[in-house]
Symmetry: C3
Subunit: 157 residues, 3 copies
């Protein structure tokens, strides 16, 4: 993993989506010292939630895992926008993956791997955070997956 994350992203053929804007009284990213908090990301296209519903009942685990991956790419896009480049991300400290679940569903960790696999692909071990994966009753706009992030950043020089 000698490559920079931005180079690895390219080598993996991954493109960052346009950073989503905040629709409410919150910041997509808050920077303080060498920390960045990224607000809970749900996957949208042109402002509309992609594949709304509960995982397992309305949306398959495979689709949900892919949406979790896309939520991570949205977060990278927001961080690139605020930091100038994802190369200023030093490490992922903590990720929470919220999976909209019907009662009795217990595969939230598989969905969560979608969010963190891509971080490890791009950042190596620095992309392996502490994580909690939980099943929630519902999410904004009936999104099936929401992911939030706490990141350690490289200080500006």
């Amino acid at each position: 993993m000698s490559d920079r994350p931005s180079e690895r992203l390219r080598a993996l053929g991954l493109a960052l989506p346009a950073p989503p804007s905040a629709k409410g009284t919150y910041s997509p990213v808050v920077l303080e010292g060498n920390r960045a908090w990224v607000s809970g990301q749900i996957v949208t296209e042109a402002g509309t939630v992609v594949r709304p519903g509960l995982v397992d009942r309305d949306v398959s685990v495979d689709v949900a895992r892919d949406l979790a991956r896309r939520a991570s790419l949205q977060a990278l896009s927001l961080l690139a926008d605020r930091l100038g480049s994802i190369d200023r991300i030093e490490r992922f400290l903590r990720v929470t993956v919220y999976v909209a679940s019907s009662s009795g569903f217990g595969r939230q960790h598989e969905v969560a791997n979608g969010a963190t696999d891509v971080l490890v692909e791009v950042f190596g071990e620095a992309g392996r955070p502490a994580r909690a994966a939980v099943g929630v009753a519902g999410l904004p706009l009936n999104a099936p997956v929401e992911v939030d992030f706490l990141v350690l950043t490289v200080p500006s020089s």
Copy 2:
């Protein structure tokens, strides 16, 4: 926003409730360095939860939004109690809004705006945190809304 937050609070006609006490093995507020963590706030009056139930089924979105606002005021009251004044809050870093939701409800972000609108009214841009809004199956004492906070504080001089 040249006014101090305590002055703006007054100008807005907002009064802080009495700070709720902890009923269990946790601290309402933990201070460490220039950070303050506020435990999950549910709105109580004289120790009883206000408007218990699930949002949308038992409690309207408008009522829930107002309860989220009151949860933020409870947090401010706890912070004022521990810090001496809300003027020692420098910035809201992160807020999580948990909304007790029946399956299929997807307006958690609207409820969450109740919690963060008031922070922006009182603190300006410093009151605009990173945020996650999620729908949960239930909350302590059947509260419809719970909100937790991570805050950057001004060092004591």
Copy 3:
């Protein structure tokens, strides 16, 4: 509380379980500066979840409270493994307790006390964190309780 936490643990007759390994792209513990984030802990024995199900419907509050306690001991075991000893834990800053709940259940705080009572028994006031207790629709492998932790550590000398 002049004893060291490791001595108190012994005096209380508590043994730490073997630290569970990560089964996915996350770290059980992330250390950065004087902070440690512990990933969401569900209680397992030989890789199998203990007492799966929803609290109240399938698992009693008493059993769930005990599982929350065991989740905290798992976290201590992971921290001991990474830090060398639990005596390098200075303070528990923040704990989140996720309780798998059927709709209408509202005793998550009683379950959460299982997680934090044991921290106070072992660490005294340093074991009393900011806390959020919430009821979720489901958890990985149908675990009834999941607990995550943010800890202040003593710097290595």
